[in-house]
Symmetry: C3
Subunit: 245 residues, 3 copies
């Protein structure tokens, strides 16, 4: 059994994040909320998201797994204005989820989840930890465009920077420690990442969000942030591209 109602903006926020990696996702539902785990087909990035029942205006559920096609959910979101409520109710008999937005009823076939594995999110202890406003990362990504397919994140004791090196041109965005909520690293570390993955997750994160970044040299980076006043927690892990000399 699953029956819940939430603001369209909240649902939109989490669908935007998840759909940077995959089109079909398994909602693992319990009486406490919903857990979503996703890894992209190339196994370059991984998301783990927990949506607390506090993110919903009403929430009733037993333990159940629902597979959803995110493109269809985006279609439902287009029917809602900002501030509208969307209700969802499982129709166990027909294997559907029933969405209601105002006087519209949308019956959506569930996707088979039997072939969807639960990716294991590795525990990593990384040297550098910092907090950056996503707007700065979004600005850095716009600057990186057309320069290269990769972006380098670097943390030093007194600054953090994003940089891109092309064959002839380069660009960098630097934030001094004084302008950051938090920056903690004993030494300089840097890793290079695929620009498209980094760009997709950064663009999908709402303006104003503070992102915690854990970074090391030639290690995955871990991005961690909250949405919907803390009731949605997102962990994003992105594998590095090892630089050759």
């Amino acid at each position: 059994m699953f029956k819940a109602e939430l603001k369209s903006d909240t649902l939109k926020g989490l669908v935007n994040i998840i759909s940077t990696l995959i089109d079909e996702v398994k909602f693992s539902i319990s009486s406490e909320g919903i857990t979503l785990k996703a890894v992209d087909a190339a196994h370059v990035a991984m998301i783990e998201m927990f949506v607390d029942k506090g993110a919903f205006t009403s929430f009733e559920a037993d333990s159940v797994e629902l597979g959803l096609d995110l493109d269809k959910v985006k279609g439902v979101l287009k029917l809602a204005s900002s501030g509208d409520l969307i209700s969802m109710e499982q129709d166990d008999v027909h294997g559907r989820l029933i969405f209601k937005v105002g006087n519209i009823t949308r019956r959506m076939n569930l996707v088979d989840t039997s072939s969807m594995s639960d990716p294991k999110v590795p525990q990593l202890s990384l040297t550098a930890n910092m907090t950056v406003c996503v707007d700065e990362l979004q600005k850095g990504i716009r600057a990186a465009d057309t320069i290269s397919d990769h972006i380098t994140l670097r943390a030093a004791p007194d600054f953090f920077d994003l940089s891109c090196e092309g064959d002839t041109d380069s660009v960098s965005l630097r934030i001094d420690k004084a302008n950051m909520p938090m920056l903690d690293t004993p030494s300089e570390v840097r890793s290079m990442f695929p620009l498209d993955y980094f760009s997709n997750i950064v663009k999908a994160t709402p303006s104003g969000t503070m992102i915690n970044i854990a970074l090391d040299s030639d290690y995955p980076t871990k991005l961690n942030f909250s949405l919907a006043d803390g009731s949605v927690k997102v962990d994003y892990l992105l594998a590095p591209r090892i630089e050759s000399d």
Copy 2:
């Protein structure tokens, strides 16, 4: 002889409606106003429109027929801002219509009307009659998108609904009688229509317009509404797609 002036918004409104069906149209002009009749090439839908001389800021005409290419008229409309006046004057010598918008003069060749027949609008007596705000229909069309190529209109004594059934998914928009200006049917009736035609006419109708709908089971539906404070009357007839069991 034909010489008239009207607000660009009025001309735009009627061109938008007519061009959902055809590109070239015959304006049948009399001293009382202009009549336009159009049927699409596949004979699925038909429009009859009467534009009273009261829709114009000035209007002088004898009986005359003018054939116009609506894409060219749309080009003239792009030169006008909302609230601008557009004047039209027949140039009988050169077979042209001369549009003036501010200090721009646009001379447009008329289209030969000899091959344009006058479609006969059939008289239909349909069981259900109701009035719906076009905004609700527009919302229903957005919801129907990607579900199916057809849309079903249904009227019952206490509600009206639009619905779309796909192979696995479905969507419906329901309006209770209490929320409608008028709903009158002794029994439930329903017909299915091609979504693209229904969508085109509904999207071309200005937001806020009240549409009178006449409906029966497996019969054409008749949409009837006014524009420009009642000085433009539109009748739209759409053939059903007969459902097979």
Copy 3:
């Protein structure tokens, strides 16, 4: 040596103008400002622009020539909001120009200028001289669209007009002398020009700009205007298309 800072809007304005003709341009820099000359590949139009050091918020330079790829400069402009300052500094060692916008540093390879010739702007004495607000020309271009590939400029003692003649249709925009800041011609003159060139320069000129036009019969036309409160001067010369009878 070249080091300067200016408002992003000023840089954007002059890049928009120059890039109507060419993608790569030579900045000829002196202690007084920057001169840009450009002729398109087909030698139909020519621009000469002088950017006085007064257009910059700071300006230090010796005589130097820098070749720039305007598409890359447009990329830098996208990183700046209206009102932002952009600094540029020559990196002579690496043959680069270093742009800074806020906390972003963009290093851009210079283009080889050895093959870029300095077009000679011919001195012309033309019969008709007038001043027109670019908004009127922009309106005329919108009207000309789809009618023909050419546009005719005509000046008479008491009016100026733009017109386009197609096979069946035509359009014209007329401005009476009373509505023009200046119109001076002893006789009627007219020349026809390629619409795409005329359209590109007119669209790239900021709304509200007053353009001085010099015109003669079957001669090039000369457009002359200022940007950035007079600190940027633009001369644009466009060859006529000689009309055959």
